[in-house]
C-alpha cells in the first residue's frame, strides 16, 4: 500500500506539480544579426507545443523539467534542432543561416522544408510580406513597393492610379491604421500615390490585419498595416541601393558595437521633374519631387535591456516658378526600450512622435497667400508579454496619444487678407488592452482579447451646434484642458483556428473597432490636403463590427496554398458630406457633414504556389460595400465608391535560371461607383449637369498587365547586383482616371463625356546593388 501511495505521489509531482523551467532567448539572422520575427520554436517530440518569436526576436517556452528535441525554424532560413535537457531555466540565443545554395542568388526564398504556418497559426487574415520576396514583381517606374504588392492580395484594393491609399474589405482609405515602427503615418504616399512612403530597402516586415485584429492595435475601423523597419547589420558594414529612371536610393548600415548594436540609414530621392521639362506644356521652372530618409539605431545595453531609436522623414515638393508652391510630408520618431523583467515577462516601452503637414504658397509678391495645416501626435505606450505557460501567452498594455489638430491657417502678403487661423483642436486618446493566445488541445488555437478605448476632445477652443440643415445655431467656448466631448467603448476581439489536419484548418474571427479620427476627402481623388477631424460633440466615433470565417488548405507538401474567406462588416457613424461641402479652411466644417451606416460583405479566394521555379498567386474577390444616409440619395442605400464587385489579381514569377527571373501580373476590377448626371439644364447660359442619385453609375472596368525582367549579374564575394526592366500597362489599356462632362467646344448645343487616362505603357529600368 505504501509503495502505491509513494508511486502515485511521484506521478503527481512528476506531472502536475513537476518542476517547470523556461527556455528563452532571441533568434537572429546569422548573416546580419537582425532579429527574426515570427520564427517558430517547436518541441518535436510533443504535439502542438511551441512558441513564436515576438517582433524583437524574443521567445519564451515553459516546460516541465525534462529532455526535449527543440527545433528552431523560420521562412527563408535553414532550420536547426537541438537536444535540450531542461533541468534549470535556460537562455538560448540562436542565429539561423540562409541556406547556402539560395544565398548565391542574392535573394531570399522559401526553403524546401515543410511550411504550414498558415494552417496552424491562430492569427487569421494576416497578410505578411518580406520585401525581398516580392522584389521581382513588376511595378510602376520600377520602384518596388510593398503597398502596391499588398494591393494584389484578396480583400485589399488600391484606390486607383493617381490616388493614395487603399481599401480593405469595403472600408474607407482613412480606416486603415498604418504604423511605421509603431508611429502612425498619416499620409502614406508620395507623388499623389504613385509611390508609397515605404522604402523597401529599409523594411523588414509588413503585416496587414484584415479581421480578427489583435487587441494591441486600435484607432482605425478597418485594418492595421504594421510596417517594421530593419534594425541594421550588427555584424559588418553593408551598402545597397538602386538607380532608376525616376528615383534612386541608397542604404548604409553598420554595427555600433559588433553583435550589440547597429545603425541603418536609408534615403531616396526622385527626379520626376527632369522629365516634365521634356514636355512643352509644362513651364521650365516646374518642381515635382520627393525625398525620404529612414534611420534606425539599436543597442543591446545588457542581456535584458535593449534600446531602439528610429525615425522617418519624407517630403514632397511641387512648384511652378514663384506662382505656386505646394509641399507636404510626414515626420515620425520612435524611441523604444525592451526590458526582460524575467524569463517570462517581456516589456516594451515606446514613445512616439508623429507629424504630418502640408503647405501651399500661391501667387507671388503682394498678391500671394499661404495655407498651412498639420496634425501632430505624442504617443506613450507600455506593452507587456507574459509567457505564462506553453498554452497561454498573455499580452497587455496601455497607451495614451495626445493629438494636436491644426486644420489650417491662411496668411496673406496683402492687406486685403485678414490672417485666418482655424482654431486648433486637442484630444487625448487612451487605450488599454489584455489579450491571451491560448492553445486548447493539439487542434484549437484561440486568440481573444478586449480593448478599452476613449477619446477626450479638449479645449481651448470653440464648439458649435448645428441645425438639421447644417446652419450654426450655437457656439460655446472652452478653456484649456476642459473636456468638450468624451467618447469611449469596449472593443472585443477574437480569432480562432481549428486544425483539421496538418494540411487544412478552419479559422474564425470577430472584431469591433472604434475610430475617433476621420479624414475628409473629396469624392474622386485623394490628396494631401485631406484634413483629419476629431470626434466631437457633433462627430461620433466610427464603429466597425466584422465577422469572418475562412478555410485553408495546403496541397502537395505545402507547395500550393488554397484559401477561401467570407466576411460581413457593419459600420456605424460613417461620414459623408452635404452637396457642395467646403472641406478646406472651414471652421464650421462639421456642419457640412452627415452621418449614416455602412455595410460590406464578400468572398475572397486565393490559390498560391509557394515553391519551385514558378511561383505566384491568383486571387478573386466578390464583394459589396454599401452606405445609407438619411441626407443623401433620399435615404436610399447606395454603393460606396470602392464597391467593386469583382476583383481579380494574378501574379506570376518564373525563375528561368540563377541569372534570370521573369514576372508578370494582371489585375481586373469592376469600375468604381461614381455619380454621373442623368440630365442637364442651363443656368447663366451655362450647361449644368443634373444629378439624380449618388454613385448610381460605374467607371469602366479597370484592367492592366505589367511585366518584369530581372537579370542577376555575375556575383562577387562581397558584391552582388541586378538589373530590373519592367513595363507597366503592357497592352496600353486606356483605364479611366476621370470622366468629366462638358460642352462640346465645336458645337455648344452638344454635351460630351471626356475620359482621361494617366498611364499607357510605361517602361522603366532600375539597377540595384548590394555590398555585403
Amino acid at each position: 500500500m505504501k509503495t502505491i501511495v509513494l508511486a502515485l505521489l511521484l506521478i503527481i509531482t512528476g506531472s502536475s506539480f513537476g518542476q517547470k523551467y523556461t527556455l528563452s532567448g532571441t533568434i537572429r539572422d546569422a548573416s546580419n544579426g537582425e532579429d527574426i520575427y515570427g520564427a517558430t520554436i517547436r518541441v518535436t517530440n510533443l504535439s502542438n507545443v511551441g512558441a513564436n518569436t515576438n517582433a524583437y526576436g524574443f521567445y519564451s517556452l515553459t516546460l516541465d523539467r525534462g529532455s526535449y528535441e527543440i527545433e528552431y525554424r523560420s521562412t527563408g532560413f535553414e532550420a536547426q534542432s537541438f537536444q535540450i535537457d531542461l533541468l534549470e531555466n535556460i537562455s538560448k540565443n540562436i542565429e539561423l543561416d540562409i541556406p547556402s545554395d539560395v544565398q548565391q542568388l542574392g535573394e531570399v526564398k522559401v526553403n524546401a522544408t515543410k511550411e504550414n504556418n498558415n494552417i496552424t497559426s491562430s492569427g487569421m487574415n494576416v497578410t505578411r510580406f518580406d520585401p525581398k520576396s516580392i522584389e521581382t514583381i513588376p511595378v510602376l517606374f520600377g520602384e518596388k513597393d510593398i503597398m502596391k504588392t499588398l494591393q494584389l492580395t484578396p480583400g485589399v484594393k488600391g484606390a486607383g492610379e493617381g490616388n493614395a491609399g487603399f481599401f480593405v474589405r469595403g472600408g474607407g482609405v482613412d480606416q486603415n491604421l498604418i504604423l511605421l515602427d509603431e508611429a502612425p503615418v498619416y499620409n502614406a504616399s508620395h507623388l499623389l500615390g504613385f509611390f508609397s512612403v515605404f522604402n523597401s530597402d529599409a523594411i523588414k516586415d509588413v503585416a496587414l490585419y484584415k479581421s480578427g485584429i489583435p487587441a494591441e492595435y486600435g484607432g482605425r475601423a478597418s485594418s492595421v498595416m504594421d510596417v517594421k523597419m530593419r534594425d541594421g547589420n550588427t555584424k559588418k558594414f553593408g551598402a545597397s541601393g538602386g538607380i532608376g529612371l525616376i528615383s534612386s536610393r541608397l542604404t548604409l548600415e553598420a554595427p555600433i558595437v559588433k553583435d550589440k548594436g547597429a545603425i541603418i540609414i536609408s534615403g531616396r530621392r526622385s527626379y520626376a521633374d527632369l522629365f516634365l521639362g521634356l514636355s512643352e506644356e509644362v513651364p521650365d521652372d516646374t518642381k515635382l519631387f520627393f525625398y525620404d530618409l529612414n534611420a534606425k539605431a539599436n543597442y543591446r545595453i545588457t542581456e535584458k535591456d535593449r534600446v531602439f531609436l528610429s525615425g522617418y522623414f519624407g517630403r514632397d515638393k511641387f512648384g511652378l516658378g514663384d506662382d505656386f508652391g505646394f509641399n507636404w510630408g510626414n515626420a515620425t520618431g520612435t524611441l523604444r526600450w525592451n526590458h526582460l523583467f524575467s524569463k517570462k515577462l517581456f516589456s516594451n516601452t515606446t514613445v512616439v512622435y508623429s507629424d504630418f503637414d502640408y503647405e501651399f504658397n500661391i501667387g507671388s509678391g503682394n498678391d500671394g497667400f499661404g495655407i498651412r495645416s498639420s496634425i501632430q501626435d505624442w504617443n506613450i505606450k507600455q506593452d507587456f508579454t507574459y509567457f505564462l505557460n506553453n498554452n497561454n501567452n498573455l499580452k497587455f498594455g496601455i497607451n495614451g496619444i495626445y493629438h494636436t489638430f491644426k486644420p489650417g491657417s491662411l496668411t496673406g502678403k496683402n492687406e486685403s487678407f485678414n490672417e485666418l487661423i482655424l482654431f486648433e483642436r486637442y484630444a487625448l486618446e487612451v487605450g488599454a488592452y489584455v489579450q491571451n493566445e491560448m492553445k486548447i488541445g493539439s487542434r484549437l488555437n484561440i486568440m481573444y482579447g478586449l480593448r478599452y478605448s476613449g477619446f477626450n476632445l479638449m479645449g481651448s477652443g470653440n464648439a458649435y451646434d448645428f441645425d438639421d440643415k447644417g446652419n450654426k445655431i450655437d457656439e460655446r467656448s472652452y478653456d484649456s484642458g476642459e473636456s468638450i466631448a468624451y467618447h469611449h467603448g469596449l472593443e472585443p476581439r477574437i480569432s480562432m483556428s481549428y486544425i483539421l489536419s496538418e494540411s487544412n484548418s478552419i479559422k474564425l474571427g470577430y472584431n469591433r473597432n472604434y475610430q475617433y479620427m476621420h479624414q475628409l476627402s473629396n469624392a474622386t481623388s485623394s490628396s494631401p490636403t485631406d484634413n483629419w477631424v476629431p470626434s466631437s460633440n457633433n462627430v461620433k466615433p466610427q464603429i466597425a463590427d466584422q465577422i469572418a470565417i475562412g478555410y485553408y488548405q495546403n496541397l502537395k507538401r505545402n507547395m500550393y496554398r488554397i484559401s477561401g474567406e467570407v466576411y460581413y462588416k457593419y459600420m456605424a457613424n460613417q461620414i459623408d458630406y452635404r452637396n457642395g461641402a467646403q472641406l478646406i479652411l472651414n471652421d464650421e466644417v462639421e456642419g457640412d457633414l452627415v452621418y449614416g451606416i455602412g455595410k460590406a460583405y464578400g468572398l475572397e479566394l486565393q490559390v498560391e504556389k509557394k515553391k519551385g521555379k514558378f511561383t505566384g498567386w491568383l486571387s478573386y474577390t466578390l464583394s459589396r460595400s454599401l452606405r445609407q444616409f438619411d441626407d443623401i440619395n433620399d435615404g436610399k442605400e447606395f454603393s460606396a465608391r470602392q464597391d467593386r464587385i469583382h476583383d481579380i489579381s494574378i501574379v506570376a514569377m518564373y525563375k528561368v535560371n540563377n541569372a534570370i527571373a521573369l514576372s508578370a501580373s494582371w489585375i481586373y476590377y469592376t469600375g468604381d461607383a461614381i455619380t454621373f448626371p442623368s440630365g442637364k439644364y442651363e443656368v447663366a447660359g451655362t450647361t449644368i449637369p443634373f444629378y439624380t442619385e449618388r454613385n448610381g453609375y460605374r467607371m469602366p472596368d479597370y484592367h492592366r498587365m505589367d511585366i518584369g525582367f530581372t537579370w542577376y549579374m555575375k556575383e562577387r564575394k562581397k558584391f552582388e547586383h541586378n538589373l530590373n526592366v519592367s513595363i507597366y500597362n503592357l497592352y496600353a489599356r486606356e483605364n479611366a482616371y476621370t470622366i468629366t462632362f462638358e460642352d462640346n467646344p465645336d458645337n455648344l448645343l452638344e454635351t460630351q463625356a471626356i475620359q482621361t487616362t494617366l498611364f499607357k505603357l510605361v517602361p522603366s529600368i532600375t539597377y540595384n546593388f548590394n555590398i555585403k
Binding site: G162, S279, P283, F318, L320, F324, F326, F360, I362, N414, E415, S416, N418, L420, N522, A523, T524, S525, S527, D576, R578, N579, G580, L583, I584, D592, I674, F676, P677, S678, G679, K680, Y681, E682, V683, A684, T686, I688, P689, F690, Y691, T692, Y697, E734, Y737, T738, T740, F741, E742, N747, L749, E750, T751, Q752, A753, I754, Q755, T756, L758, K760
Partner: protein, 266 residues
Amino acid sequence: MKNIFYFFAIIALLASCQKVIDIDLNEANPTPVIEGNYTAEDSTVRVKLSLTSSYFNSETSNFINDANVNITDDSGLISNIPSIGNGMYELQSYIPNFNTTYTLSVSHDGTTYSAQCDLLDTVSLSEITYEYNPGGFFGSDAGYLVFLNFDDPINISNYYQVVLSLNGVELNALNEIFTQDDIFSDGNTVSRPLFGGDFFQIEDTVGMELRSIDQDIYSYLNEAISIFGSNSASSAAPGNPYSNWNNNALGYFSAYGNSRKEIIIE
C-alpha cells in the same frame, strides 16, 4: 479656393490621353429650372423657365411659357410677371426696397414653387486697376490683369458676385464670373486680382459689375461653379447645388443691387 486645384491641373498634364467616350446615362424625369433675377439697377424682374433634358440631348431647352409667375414684397403685395416668350417672364418698373425680402412664386402643372431672397444694401466699387503680367502661367499669353477694389463694410457678412465685360460683352457664364465673401477680409479695403480666362490687352474696354448678393445665392453660385463641367476633383460630393427654390425645382432666385465701373486699358 479654385487656385488649389491648379494642383490637379498638373495631374491632367501628366495624362497621356483624353478622349470623348460614349456613356449610357439614365433619363431623369424633366424637372423645372427657374432662374429668377431681380435687378435693383433697372427695377426689373426677369425669370427664365425651362425643364431639364437628357444629358446628351442637343436640342435647345424645353421652355415653359404657360406658368403663372408672381413676385411678392415684404408687405404681401403680389405682382404678376407676364410671359414674353421663349420661357422668359419680365416685369419692369418694380421699385426696389432695400433690406427687405422678396418672394418669387411659379405655378406650373399643378405645383407651386417659391423662393425667397433678401435685397441687401449695395456696396460700391471703388475703381478698376490693372497690372501687366508677362504670362507663361499654364501657357497664358502676356497681358493685363485687372483688380477688383472696394471697401468692405465692417461687422456685416457681405457676399459678392463679380461680372466682367469686354468691349461691352458681359462675361457672365458660370466659368467666367467671380464670387467673393468677406470671411478673410471683413471691413478691409480689398484689392483682388481677377485671374481666369485670357489677360486683357491694350485698348480693351473692361467693365466690372459688383453685385451685392445674399448668402444663399453666394453658396449656390459656388456650388454651381464647382460642378460646372463636372470637374469632380474640386467637389467634395457631386450633387445639385442647394437651391432657394422649394419642391425640388432647380435654379435660383436672386435679388441684388450693383455697382459698375468701366476703364480702357492703355
